[in-house]
Symmetry: none
Subunit: 225 residues, 2 copies
Amino acid sequence: MQTLSKASLAESATQSIRAEIVSGRWSVGAKLPNEANLSATLSVSRGTVREAVRVLVAQGFLETRQGSGTYVLSSTDPSKTLDMARRTSLRDQFEARCALDVEAARLAALRHTPKVIADLRRLLAERGNYEGGEKAEFITRDLAFHKAVIAASGNRALMEIYDFFSATITETIEATISAEVPEPDMQAHADIIDAIETGNADNASAAVRRFMAPVFSALDKLLLS
Amino acid sequence: MQTLSKASLAESATQSIRAEIVSGRWSVGAKLPNEANLSATLSVSRGTVREAVRVLVAQGFLETRQGSGTYVLSSTDPSKTLDMARRTSLRDQFEARCALDVEAARLAALRHTPKVIADLRRLLAERGNYEGGEKAEFITRDLAFHKAVIAASGNRALMEIYDFFSATITETIEATISAEVPEPDMQAHADIIDAIETGNADNASAAVRRFMAPVFSALDKLLLS
DNA sequence: TGATCAAAGTCATCCGATGACTTGATGATG
DNA sequence: CATCATCAAGTCATCGGATGACTTTGATCA
């Protein structure tokens, strides 16, 4: 941030107020001092305070209620909400990933081309089954296949979200329970490609769901133990 | 964003200026009219203009140079990861949101409780059908219902991602084509609740899919026109 | 030509005033 | 006592003017 060198008073005020919020000194729901008070505390004019507050309102930190006051709405940057998704349980992450896979397979079935199908078959062949060796490399090849399915959907939003999750899921798997979660075999993967090729959206999403079932079963067992 | 329902002058000014930028009428590098001029054009005071500009500066759209003027830095929001979602097409965003809705309904069907069902029914009743009036307020009530469905899934990852998208989708809708996208009626919503209540996961997700169909049809028509 | 500098243009900040809205107290009413 | 209408204080929303700081421009001059 080069802002430090030439921060305007309004920008400084914005940072000061935000610091109070993220530090928790002004907790969620708390009411801020009124504008005149803030003005005095920060040693800037009321207009400058208003500019600072307006920015924080736009960023989702604050909420102003005319006639009532200014209140803390959130103590975290809402633009980074996805970070929160990262910290959810492993099962939640898999379920979310499953949602993306299912919809992607559906869309891929509706929009597939012969070239896409050929690419999927090639990636699946390269992936192979896991037969010992470096687990991380296998996971990488496996992810390449799944990303290709998402790409086949032609939906960039799904791709972005999937990338986001696949990275963290990979980490989690490798670090913790990799041995306990079964990798669906080649046939289960091939079923997905076949369903996409037929162009039947329902079959494609159902294939993904069957595909994921054993993973969820394994996760449930882990949660019980 | 419920902000539109009772948008302050400053927020309206922010949107007006941003609209000029994203539409390309003020291209990157262009110099904006001076504050007095903007003040006259937008029929608000200069202080209000400054608040609006300050927000857009914080979002990375504008840059102010004291003594020189205000210039367009970017026509897209570069400050956050939201960029990725903003740049995807509206259709992509809806498809991604649909993926979340479908999976959430499925999980909700498997995990529902009487209280959750009652809450959903209450939210749907509060939502009502759109019968004129403030569109933004209706969208807010509609979102509350859909978020409740996601919450009923018990999956925090889905909730986070959904929040992420609903914000940008709402913005896009309100800013551009709100009138063109049909809102599914109460019955379509009620069908989802009923399906969840029966505990049949497939029916629940199918209900959501039927629910979304007319929206996609409308989007397709927009793309063709 | 090149450097200097003054003036105009523009944003930064401050101040005071008025309007609009919310909230809580007050008091009348039944 | 409970309820409701009314009112006053507190607060944000917006306005307009004024002054300072900084940049750009162009005229002036060596």
